[in-house]
Structure formats: structure tokens, C-alpha cells
Amino acid sequence: MTTHPDPVREAPEAFPAQPHPAAASSAAAARHAAAPQATDWTDGVDTVPRADGTPEELQPYAELGLADDEYDRIRHILGRRPTQSELAMYSIMWSEHCSYKSSKVHLRQFTEKAPPSDRLLAGIGENAGVVQVSDELAVTFKVESHNHPSFVEPYQGAATGVGGIVRDILAMGARPVAVMDPLRFGAADHPDTARVLPGVVAGVGGYGNCLGLPNIGGEVVFDPCYQGNPLVNALCLGVLPVSRLQNKAAVGPGNVVVLMGAKTGRDGIGGVSVLASATFDEGSEQRRPSVQVGDPFIEKLLIEACLELYDAQLIAGIQDLGGAGLTCALTETAAAAGTGMRVWLERVPLREPSMQPHEILASESQERMLLIVEPAKLEAVLKTCEKWGVLATAIGEVTAPEPEGQPGRLLITWRDHVVVDVPPGSLVDDGPVYARPMREPADLILLQADRAETLPRPSDPDTLRETVLRMIASPNLADKTWVTEQYDRYVLGNTVLAQPEDSGVIRIDERTGLGVALSVDGNGRYARLDPYHGAKLALAEAYRNVAVTGAAPIAVTNCLNFGSPEDPGVMWQFAEAVRGLADGCAELGIPVTGGNVSFYNQTGAAAIHPTPVVGVLGLLANVADRVASGFVPRPGGEHEQLF
């Protein structure tokens, strides 16, 4: 039962209208252009002593997306210029994606307005929110975006999107048990949609299938506003015994830092490659792919191995490696504990031996986890990993905090050269925070004035018929079986409801019948007309979808897909949507437990519709009591009564 990347691009009947975003055949010629030798980059490496001695060296911080004052802040924090590796790390951690610098001031409302809840075991700020559902059991769920990568390479972009959210869930101590995929594409008849959609669907299905996760719902929406910016959001649900909850804090000086999973390659190094090209050889940058390729089989092994490690209580801390790779995992685990960390970077198993320290730190290679392990348990950990055929390597150790209660420092060497020496909290918690300018979009009044009531109504049987036919034929209302048939909804044997139901329902305890219902919804058109109410409506829709199965809604996750935060109009939409969602949650009495912000979904000046996607989780004491949306004919031909 494989669905692997199609040897041929899916839907060969259509061709991209635009060329692929990356260079075409020139890259082929570059393949055999002399590859730089691994030999003595040690000499060229930018070390802390070197940074001390060359304060005036120009650094490509702007190309890395850092503003002048951000760069100055880094110099101030370090008391010197950053090394290349440090600059790479700050540029990653202070990016919009990692630091939430534009959204932070708004997202606070989710916590401030949240109704009190005694179910919440982990909330916003953790890898995923964790909600207790019985004395013994908790569930964790979260939705995340992988929009741009899925436009560039639909299959791998979508696949690694699923892989990423699954690792978030795994890192909380949970077994992943289901996925959902809210998707948005450009016009259904646009040739580029025929490139993107089949690849995305195959990627979501392929990766999820390989992990054995049932797909229990999602959305497929077409609108020309998503033409160059399709939205690929992925949700994962996990279940854990309450006692198995994991923490990312790198506690316990002397504990070992273990990197587990795939080897590190030049995946998704993207922007950080300017460090190499600016300093070493021009043009080497085109060798660096910005696309990650997933290996779901390794992820499956990671899941099984991690669960075995949790159950044997062999882990002191764990963090998945997501978009920001080792940089994020090392700094977040250390910062969460207030400890320091000492890492020998040359111990990281590499796919390409010629990788430089900053590339190793920035790599987005998939299917990796970082473990914090007590020395006495290291052997058992490595043995479990070996049993599952997963690579695991001790790459460092946790070090003590500084005297007087100051947090420790992250010290990274590469072949005995100190390449990083930073306070980890400065990357994680002290990033920039912006209250960006906001302004209601100038065209909003006109849009709102153009009311549906002014549209011509069908007034005779012929026009009525024509309208009905047009609606039925509309891709947004059409049957989604072409998509959902490509997903496995049966695996694990606990799927009680899935497509085409309003919510997915999963049994999480075979003994008691305890289960959860999940729905994800969003409506960019409503949100474009009124982001505040649009977000509330998305919440209300998901809430209703969960409620009609008979489940009691208890928690919310969300993925906020917007254009550029530097556009005051977009920023206003964002602020309004967040305010609406926070107010809606307060009114319904259920908390937001986590989520994800995706900005910069725009091409030139044209942003997508503001698209808050909201997931609601509900609880069913016994899934046998669920209410399905169809009428089930009774044996004997009797039918249900309609009231």
C-alpha cells in the first residue's frame, strides 16, 4: 500500500503556467561542477576569538532578514560581533516564523481572555497543547502550515508538513493517532492548480499512510486568491497517559544531549546560504536546496522508538527538530531549563561531510529529535534506538547555570574551535517584538457596501434551475471523494467517523469507549469581509460540527494564514481575527491551546484572503453514542423519524 512521490508529476495533463520557482536546467549542469572539498574549511571557519579580533568585518545580516537595530541588539547581547554560526542562529530564531515578532502582542489575548480550565496540562508555548480527558488519559492536537514549500514542491512540501506536525505531537509524549488537512488552492481550472493539488494530496496521503495515521477530515477550498499561495495546513491528534507527558527543558547539568533520527543534510538551508556564498565561493548557493525531502519510514521508526523510551522512563527532556533545526532545539531546550549546554558539532552525523558549522545548525533535515538523557540511562536509550534502526548520537551535555541564578550559556565547538557562545534565552525569549502599524484596508468599505442582497435573484424556473446547476457544479461544493479516497481512514482501527462526516471521531480508549471529535474550518471570504466575525464564524462552525456528533467541545487550535505583516491592512486583518477568535473562545468557554501563524502568503502586493483556520476538539464519553450525519436505514426497512 504505497503512495510514494509520483515518478511523474501528478496530473500530467496540466503544466505549470509559470516556470518552477527554482532554476531549471542550469542546475543540472551545476551538478558536476567541482564540489568544494571537505578538507580545510576548519581554517576558514569563523570562531569566537576571530569575531573578537575582527569587530569591523562586514556581515550579510540584511540578506539574512535582520534589521539594522536587530543586528545591533545581537552585538550588544554578545559584546562583540556574532560569528557566522551565531548570526545564522539569530537570523533563524528572530525570524517571523520562529519569534512571532509581529503576532506576539496580539496572540496574548488567547491567554488573557481564556476561560479557566483545569484540563489544560500544557498550553500555548509548548510544542502542542495537552488536554486531560480522563483520570488517566490526555490528548494533544495542533494545526500547522506548510504553505510555501508545498507550492514549490507540492508532494514533498505537503508530506514534510505532515511530518513536522506529527513530531510536535510526538514530542509531548503522545502517540499520534490521526491527521486532518485543511487545504486551499487557486481556481480549480487554473493549470497551476493541476500541478499543486494532486501533488499536495498525494503528499499528505503518502506521508500519513506511511506512518499509519488515519486521515479523519479536512477541507478543500478553491479561490483565485490562493493561486500563487496555496494553503497546506496539517493537524495531528495524539493520545497519551497523563503520566507520560514530556517536557522540553534540558534539565540536569551533566545530562547527555542526544540527536536522534535522520542524518543532517543541506535541506532547506535557504537564506543562510548567503553566509557561505558571501564569504567562500560565489555561486555555491545554487547547490543548496530549499526543499526538504521527507522519509516517512524513519519518522515511523522515530515514533515507535520515542514511545518505547517514554514508557521506559529513559528521557529527561525531548524536543522535535522543526523548521529551525538544531538551532531551535538546542536553544529552546536550554532556555526552558535555564541551563547551559556544551555541544560538539562535529559529532552530528552528516549526509554531506563538507557541511560547515552554520549549515549544520541551520539545516532543516526532517525526522530528527533531540533528547536529554541521564548518563546512566544513555546506554539503554541507544539500545532502544538501535532496536528500531534509528540513528542516535550523543552530541553534547547539559551544563550548569551561571552563578547567581543566571541562566547558562550555549557553547558550541566544531573541531575544537568555539563557533558559538551565547545565552540561549537571548535567541528564544528576547527576540524582537513589534507592534506593527495597522490600518483597515481602504477597499473594505466598498467591499462591505457591495452586499449580497444586490445580486440578481433567480426569478423563474429556468434561472432557478441554472443557479442550482451552477452551484452543484462549483468545485467548492462538489464531492471531495477524489481527494479523500487517497487517504487511509481505517488504519489503527479506531476511526468512528471520518469523511464525509462533519467531524472526525476517534476512539481513544477501547475499554471505556472514550473518544474525541475534531473539526477544522475556515472561511477566507467571510474573513476578508470582516476578519473579526470571520474568525468567530470559523470557530462557531468547527464548534457546531463537533457538537452535532454529540461531543462536548473542550479545546481549540488554530492556524492563522495571512499576507505580509508589514502591510498595515494585513496587520489589521490579523489583529481583528485574533481578537475575534479570542472573544469567541471566551464566549464559548473553551481555550485556545496552541496553533501557528503563517505570514507572507502573498505575491507582490496581492495578499490571500485572511484565512484563520480553526480546529475544535470535543469529548465523547462513549463513541458508541456518536451521532452520524446520515440516516442509517434500520434493519427491517423502518426509517428514522424526522422532527
Binding site: 505549470p16 514542491e153 536546496p289 525531502v293 554531506e352 534502526g389
Partner: protein
């Protein structure tokens, strides 16, 4: 009539899970002297008339390979290789 063969391989720096999986399985077959395995696609195109390399290159670029992650080569081979060239 010669045929056109297009070989499509993942770029060297891109992860090749297929090749990896095969390489990992080899020791089980008693094979321990293989350093690496990479797996790509071989596409054989027969033209109705003269084989057209430029045409084939265009097909490869637009349809057979994704240049973001793959490289390809296009070449001519004799269509009817003798059977004993098959192992």
C-alpha cells in the same frame, strides 16, 4: 530505430530515502562492500520518426523531472539491444 533514454536522479544533496533503504537492507543479503545506493528513474521514449533529443529534453524538463530537486540527462541508445545485454 534508436530510442531516447532520460535518466532522472535526485540532486546529490537531496535525501534519497529509497536508496538509503536499499543500502540498509544489503547487509541482510550478505553484501557489505556497498558504499552508497541512489535510486532514480529511467524513462524510455520511442518516437514515431527520427528521435528528437531537443524534444525529449523539453519533455523531461516540463514533465518528467522536477528541477527543484532533480537533475536529468537525455541520451540516445539503440532500441534493440541484444537480449544477452540483459543479464
Amino acid at each position: 530505430m534508436p530510442r531516447v533514454v532520460v535518466d532522472v536522479m535526485l540532486k546529490p544533496e537531496i535525501l534519497d530515502p529509497q536508496g538509503q533503504a536499499v543500502a540498509n537492507a544489503l547487509p541482510r543479503l550478505g553484501v557489505n562492500d556497498v558504499a552508497s545506493v541512489r535510486i532514480g528513474r529511467r524513462i524510455e521514449i520511442d518516437f514515431t520518426g527520427e528521435p528528437d533529443l531537443d524534444r525529449a529534453r523539453e519533455i523531461a524538463d516540463k514533465l518528467l523531472a522536477n528541477p527543484v530537486i532533480e537533475d536529468f540527462t537525455v541520451r540516445l541508445v539503440e532500441a534493440d539491444e541484444p537480449a544477452d545485454a540483459r543479464s
